[in-house]
Symmetry: C2
Amino acid sequence: MIEDKNQNKTDISSLGEFGLIDHLTKKIKVTQKSTIKGIGDDAAVLEFDKEHIVVTTDLLVEGVHFDLSYMPLKHLGYKSVVVNLSDVYAMNAMATQITVSIAVSNRFPLEALEELYAGIETAAKMYDVDVIGGDTTSSTTGLLVSVTAIGTVNKKNVVYRNGAKANDLLVVTGDLGAAYMGLQILEREKEVFKVNPNNQPDLDSYTYIIERQLKPEARKDIVKLLVDLDVKPTSMIDISDGLSSEIIHLCKQSDVGCDLYEEKIPLDPQVISTCEEFNIDSTTIALNGGEDYELLMTISQEDFPKIKGNPNLTVIGYMKEKNAGMHLITRAETQIPLKAQGWNSLDAD
Amino acid sequence: MIEDKNQNKTDISSLGEFGLIDHLTKKIKVTQKSTIKGIGDDAAVLEFDKEHIVVTTDLLVEGVHFDLSYMPLKHLGYKSVVVNLSDVYAMNAMATQITVSIAVSNRFPLEALEELYAGIETAAKMYDVDVIGGDTTSSTTGLLVSVTAIGTVNKKNVVYRNGAKANDLLVVTGDLGAAYMGLQILEREKEVFKVNPNNQPDLDSYTYIIERQLKPEARKDIVKLLVDLDVKPTSMIDISDGLSSEIIHLCKQSDVGCDLYEEKIPLDPQVISTCEEFNIDSTTIALNGGEDYELLMTISQEDFPKIKGNPNLTVIGYMKEKNAGMHLITRAETQIPLKAQGWNSLDAD
C-alpha cells in the first residue's frame, strides 16, 4: 500500500534520530492536568493525587500482529494505542498518558511514519490521553510499535482479575468475533488481489467486521457507564485473545468455575452471515477469535437489576465453585469444557 | 554464542504465549512499597504519595544497538534495564518499577530467553526496581527489547534539561569514551575470530573498556550523593549519545552557550592507550562516543565548594550567554564550535 504511492518521499535517515523524533512529535500537545512534563527531557514527569496508577505495555510486530498490505499505517497507529488503553479500562481505570516507541527500517519514508503518528495522535485525542514520550530507532527489517499506557483509578474502584465469586454473573460488552472475521475477509481479498490486481472487491456487506479489525475501539465508555450505574465488577479483563481464553483467566485467578451459555453470546449479524459464507461455526469464532477489545466482567447477582436491559451489557453465564469446572453449555444443552485456543502470536513465526 | 552451546534446547513455541510469559516471570518478586500489583493482570497498579512520577522508555534492537556475537544475552538484559534507569536518574529521581517487552524469533530457544531475563532480574535487584509487567511476542527476524522505567522524585527536587544559567559550572560524573572503545575492541576481535576461530584473544588490557560496553552501570549513586552534598543541579541529562550532543541539548533547552575545556574531560588510562593503539583522538571519542551512561549536569557557582575534590564529579567547563555560542577550548587554547555527531541509530540500517 505504501509502495503504490509515488509522491515525493523523504528518506528518514536524512533527518537524523533527533530530527526525526522532533519532527514526528512537534505537534503533540499535552492536556492532562497530571502531565507536568511531556516529551523533551530524559523522562516525562507526572503528578497524581492519592490515586492508584495503572501501567500496561504492548508490542505490535509487523508480520505477526499486522500486515501492511491491508493495514493502513494510520489505522495501525490508532490500533496500537487502542489495544493498550483497553488494558487500562479493564482495570476500571481511566487512561491519562502513553509512551510510544517505534522501530522502523529505512524502507519506510518519513511520510509513512507521519501517517503512523497521525493515527497515534488521533487515538490520543479521541481517548483524551497525552503522548508523553517514546523512542524512535531503526530496525533491520520490519516495523514494530511498543506502547506503554498509564492511567489512574480511585483506590476503592480498581478491579482485578481475581475477585470473581461463585454465583456472580458473567457479563460481556458489545459483540464478539467480528475482528477475527474481518481479518478473514482482508486475507481473502489479499489473495484475490495477488491473482488479479485489477479486481475491485465489493466489501459493502463486510464494513462492520473489517472496521472491527482495522480500527478497533476500547471501551472507555463502559468505565463511565459502570460509575453511572453504580456497579463495581468483582473482576474484569479485556478480550484480546478470545472469550474462552479470557474466561479461563478470570476463573483461574479467582479460583472459581463457570457455565457459559452459547445462546447468550452476542454476535453481530455480519459475523453470523460471514461465518456461514466461510462455513465455520460462529460460536467457535466468538470463543477463540480475539482482538475484539470488549470487556469481560463478573458482577454480583444483587447488581443485576442495575444492568438489566442495558444494550451495552450482556449476561452470558455465571460463576460456579471451582470444582464444578469451566463449561460451555451449548444450545443442545450439552456441557463442553472450555479450552484456551486463543490467538497465539508465538506460533506465528 | 548461543549457537555454540549444545545442551538440550526448549522450543519457545512449545510453551505457548501465556506459558512462556508465566515461565519467564514466575520468579519475579516485587519489593517496592509503591507496587500494589505487579505482573498478572491487565495492568500493574502503583501508588505514590504526593511525589512526581517520571516515565521513560527505550528500545534496543538486534543488529542496531547490539550484536549477539559478542553481547551475551544476560548482559543484554542487564544493559536494557540500565539504559532506562539512567534516564530516570537524569531527572534526579529514584527508579521504582520497570516493564519489559520482548519480541523474539523462534530461532531463540527458551534457555536463551531465560538468560536474557536473568540479566533483567539481576539489574532489577541491583538497582532495587520491581519488574511489574511486559509483553513477550514473536518477531519475524531478530530480537528486540523495549523497557519502560518509572521513578519518583520529591516535587522540589526534579531536575530538567532547561534550567542551566550563564556562569553555571558544567559537571560530569565518571569518565568518558570507554564504552565506545570497548565496542571497537569487540568488533576487532569478531573480525579476528572470523579469520581464525582458534585464536585466543588476550583482552587483559581492555577489561575496563569492554565492561563499560557490555555491562554499563547507571549512576544511581550520584542522585544519592547530590542529596548528601546538598546540591541540586540546575539542569541534568544522561550521556547516552556522547558528551558533545548532550551539552548541546542542555544549552539549547536552557537557552545558553558554553565553554568546554578539552584538558578537563575525564578519561580512563585504558581509553587513552586504546585510542593511541587505534590512532584516534581520545577527545573525539569522549565527545562523540556515547553509551557511557554518566550524568552531565550544571550547578550554580555557589555550590562549587560542596563538590570540590569529590572524585565522582569533574568540572569540565561553564555556561555562558547564548550569543557566546557553544565551544570546545582545546589544549592549544583554540575555540572549536561543538557539533552533535553522536551515535545515530538511524544511520545503522
